[in-house]
Subunit: 374 residues, 2 copies
Amino acid sequence: MNFQINKDALLKNLIIAQKALSNKTPNPALKGIKMDVTEDKIVITTSNSDIAIKLEVKDSSLNVESGGSMLIPGKYFIQIIRKLDGLKVSLSLIDDNMLRIEADRSDITLNMMDLEDFPELKFAEKVKSINVNVRLLKSIIRQTAFATSSIENRPILTGVNFQIHDNKLKAIATDSYRLSQKEIELNDEYEPLDIIIPGNSLDELLKVLENNNDQVEIHFDHSKILFKYDNILFQSRLLEGNYPETSKLVPTEFPIIIKFNKENLATAIERASLLSSRDGNNAIVKLELRKDNVVEVTSNSPEIGKVLEEVYPVDEIVGKPFKISFSSKYFLDALKIFNSSEVSVNFTGEIRPFTIVGEYDKDMLQLILPVRTE
Amino acid sequence: MNFQINKDALLKNLIIAQKALSNKTPNPALKGIKMDVTEDKIVITTSNSDIAIKLEVKDSSLNVESGGSMLIPGKYFIQIIRKLDGLKVSLSLIDDNMLRIEADRSDITLNMMDLEDFPELKFAEKVKSINVNVRLLKSIIRQTAFATSSIENRPILTGVNFQIHDNKLKAIATDSYRLSQKEIELNDEYEPLDIIIPGNSLDELLKVLENNNDQVEIHFDHSKILFKYDNILFQSRLLEGNYPETSKLVPTEFPIIIKFNKENLATAIERASLLSSRDGNNAIVKLELRKDNVVEVTSNSPEIGKVLEEVYPVDEIVGKPFKISFSSKYFLDALKIFNSSEVSVNFTGEIRPFTIVGEYDKDMLQLILPVRTE
């Protein structure tokens, strides 16, 4: 095996492949990057327990003198390619077990791993697939994956539930204290679908997708989901089990509706959370609608001190004075993902879940469970 | 106590005072910021086991209605001031034990600490002091403090030795494997001096000093050093003991002198260190002067692979073929602080310390001990 390629073109693809490399895998072969070189292309494959990535590199700079396959120690290879000088890098296999890397005045020899230890991976492209715009897919992921659970005691909640009914795709994430839900219209009608994608896989997918208006082709089967984008195949395992029925959680009537400037509300909550007796992420703040229609956001920690923030709603308020307490982190997490500069917070009662919606975030719903205090 | 001040002016000073705050101090009072307010100024004082800072704030925005003193929980106070909206902040003492902080629509009350627990600090301004340009002082610190030891088993080596003889100031740091030395001319003659300043204190001082051409006034006594700069008094304890005599370490004759482009040499060493069998910071690389006057930088780790880098010296070489091994981290640390784009590396022998000097870094010397291999 012997070929030359533009260094930056190779590096760009290795950085994508790296997303499926794991340093703490129980299977050492998964620390390797598989490279298959044929006449006109390189195929790069990586895999860990959650995701697998396959890249076809057909750069115009590629010059293959002879083809072949090898399993390269991923961490070292990427470090080396990243640090090389020169425009071009030349790669050749020596004695079947060493990779010689030459660029500028560098001559590096890297011991190869045993190719046979790398698992056989099936990238399951189906005849039928769903096409989604990249930007739209990225926004669905950004607006839901943050609300998954990071605790493993209910594994199903570490994933995002994707449901297709008719021509609608609904994505739902919840850690049982808050819920994020986003719905989009698809261009076609599809067969019904109900799957759970690990949140971590979606976080990695986000890093791989660029910000453009290309289409991502999504292929499913019962245990895997495959995203096809540009020269990339990105496959994730699915979580097994039934996702909890969440639609009953969402109240349908809201006697109290308050509209806020998002920024003002967020900074008031941030400041109130500074003096919470609970540490940073667990700070609890109280929101109170006063008789004069001003909203107070407060926290009180006898040992440290107290914060009182006044927030002026931006519109007529529906409802009468009341108060509610909640996790400041959950509220701020939710506010962060709105595109709208104004949000409506809809309350049912002092110990009932409340929702946040925004005019420019159609079909997105944020729901938060309050905290009982005193 | 009751006063108003521009929020950013207060914050800027608090961020400086924060450098002497410690969260893990055994004395809880040192987590506090002492504030003394009089008619026309605020004095802010902080202290930890190594350093103490005193700031006089006389901002034009300051409006004192009544003066007083208090000890404020440092971490919370800085977090709050940082997050406030509005240009101005109003601070007032309530019931002698709470600080009320008002700005824009925020009304925050912070419990105060017991002022009497804060230690009495003496900032020892002497009649006689040394004046040094800020930029020059910063470069002395940057070019020496990195070479101090971070291991506590020889405490004296965690400091930088400052010596004054006649009109010269010499700064020396060594961890016993490498040495950095810088000498500058002073504008006056001073009495001889030989002190050791903790490296950590100097690192904090570096963050406090701005990049301008102001003068820093330096005051000494037997146990403390005081830097007076702008509205800041920055005081550090000194390390007790005798600094090792290092002048004998530096070879006086160099049969081999090789001049390099600094950047080329650094990247070659960086790449060679990538495939070292020892982890990152402990990587050992070998440098060899070949008969054809090309320099090879190499590393070889049987399990991983090997690197061979060719580096072309930029000038006639003095000396004959030889090789030497060293810690790549020490060599790269040293190269980083040179202003010169070309450096001369001066060797005495394969197991003797070598030095690095640069044309545009007059009076600076870097010395590194080689590593025996095989």
